[in-house]
Amino acid sequence: MPKHIVRLTVLLFCGLFFALVMKWAFTAPSFYQYGHYRGDAVAEMASRKVAYQGAASCRSCHSERLAQWSAGSHKSVNCETCHGAGAEHPAKAQLAIPEDSRKLCSLCHQKMAERPRAQPQIDLAQHGAAQQCVVCHDPHSPKLAGVVAAVRGDASAGHAKHAETCAGCHGEQGLSDNDAWPNLAGQNAAYIVHRLAAFKSGAQKDPMMSTMAQALGSADIQNLATYYGAASCAAPAKGRVTEEGKALAKNCAACHGEKGEGVNPAWPRLAGQKPGYLADALKAFRAGLRKDPTMSGIARSLSDADISSLASYYAAQSCSIPLARKLP
C-alpha cells in the first residue's frame, strides 16, 4: 500500500478515536438510557419542590374551617387559591389572610360580560357601598342567610292572636311602650317568622320570648307575621341624628338600607325602632348572646358610644319608607 495512503488512514482513525473518546467523556452516562436524552433529567424534573399542598394538608390543623368550607358554596375553591401556596407553612411562614377582600373577591365575582352566567357576579359600583366583602359574607361560606320563604298568613287571625298574647308588651298597635321592647308593626314579615322560629327552637333565647314562642304553632307565627308586616308603624320618631350615627350607618346600608328601611325581607327594618332595643340587640351580638354570622362580626367592632349613636340614628328615621328593594 502506498505510504501516503497509510498515513492518511492512520490519521483518520486517530481522528475517529479522538472523537469517540470525546463523545464518551462529554455525554452524560444516562444519555440514551431511555431515548435521545439524559435519562436522569426525568427524575430531576420530577423531584422539584412542591409549593401547593392541597386542601387535604390543611385538615390536620384547620379541621373546623375545613368543615365549614366544605359545606358551603365555596367548596370548589381550594384553601390555597385565596391564601397562597402552603409550601413553607406552618414550618416557616404564615399564610396570608387576604387584606383587601374587595379586590380578591372581585377577581371572580366582578360582573363581566365575558364570565359565564352561572357565575355569581356583582356590579362593584352598586354592591356593598365600597365595604369589604367579608363584613357581610363569610369567605368560607359566603351565602348569606337571606333565604326568604313566602309568608302566607291571615292578618285578621294574626291581629286576634296579637291582641291576646303580644299586645301587653308590644303595644295595642304593635308599637311598644317600653324602650327596651321592639316595635313590631311594619317589620318585615319574613324577619318576624325567622325570629319567632328561633325563639321557638331555642336558637335564640329570651326569658320572656322563649316561653311565648313555644306556645305558638306555625300557623300562629305565619298569621302574626302577616299582621305585623302589614300594620302601620307611623309612630313619633324618638332618637336624634348625630354626625357619628350617620357615618356609622353607612356601613349598615348595604343590608338594612340607607335609613334602616331594609333591602331584603329576611333582614330587619331598623327605621323608627326603639333605640333601647336596638342598642341591646347590638350589645347582645357583640357579647355573643345573640348569634348571627354577619352581625356578630360587625358588632364586635362597635364601641358603646358607636352603638348608642347608631341606635338613636335609626330611631329617628321615619319607619314608613317603603322597602327599598324586593327580592328577585
Partner: protein, 270 residues
Amino acid sequence: MNKERISSLLARRAFLRKLGASAAAAGVAAKVLAASPQRPAYPDPNYDWSQHRWAFAVDATKCIGCLRCVEACKRENEVLPDAHHFNTWVERYVYLEGEEKPRIDSQDDPVNIAASGSEAQYRFADRYKDEKVEKAFFVPKLCNQCTNPACVQVCPTGATFKTKDGVVLIDQTYCIGCQYCVQACPYGARWFNAKKNVTQKCYWCYHRTTRGMMPACVEACPVGARMFGDLNDRQSRVSLFVRNNRVRVLKPETGNGPNVYYLGLDKDVV
C-alpha cells in the same frame, strides 16, 4: 487442496459460527436488559411511567377568567414574575356588536396590567363594560404535550424530549438556549429565560403528577374548568370528560397531536 488448507478453513468456519452466536447472545442480552423494568428514580418509588398516559382538558364554558391558575403556576414553577412570561395563560375573546373578528387580549395587555396594579399580579380589566358585547369567553392555554412534538424534533442537543407517560420535558442542563423549539411550537407555549439562557414551558407539573397530585393550576381553579388525569384510567375525570363531550384540540392540522382537550371554543380560537 491439501489437508492443512481444509483444516484451516474448518477452523475459520467454527470461529465465525462462534462469533455469530456470541453476537446474537449479546443482542438478546441487550434486548433483555432494555426490556427490564428500568425507570427513572422518581420521588415516589411506586410511580411507573409506563402505566400512565396523562392528558389535560379545559372546559372553556366554565372559565371565569380569574387568573388564579396563572398565579398558582407562576408560584409553583418559579416562572419569571412579570406579565410577559407564562407557562399557562388565559386569553379573552370578545365579539362586539357589528364587529366580525373577536378582540383578543391576555395578561400582557397594558390595560390588564394597569387593572391588576402590578406585573406580578394578574387580572382582566373590565374594559368592555360600556360596549355592546355580543359574545365573549375566556380560553385557558398551556403546553399541549403533543404526541409528535415539533419542538423535540428540532432540538439539536436532546435537551427536550417526550417521556413515556406523555409529557414533554426540558433538561435545563442540556439546553443551549438556541430557541429553535420556541420557533417550532405552533402554540407559543415555550418562552425563553434570558437569565438562565434556557427555554422553559409548562410540563403539567410533572413534579406533582408523579407524586399523585394535580397540577397547580388545576388545584387553584375555583370553578373546575381545568382537568387533569390519566387516559389509561377510563374512570378518570379527563377520560370521562373526553368521552362524554364533543371536545376538540387546537390546530390539529399541524400534525403535532396535541393532548389538551377543549370544550366550548369558538371557531376563531386557535
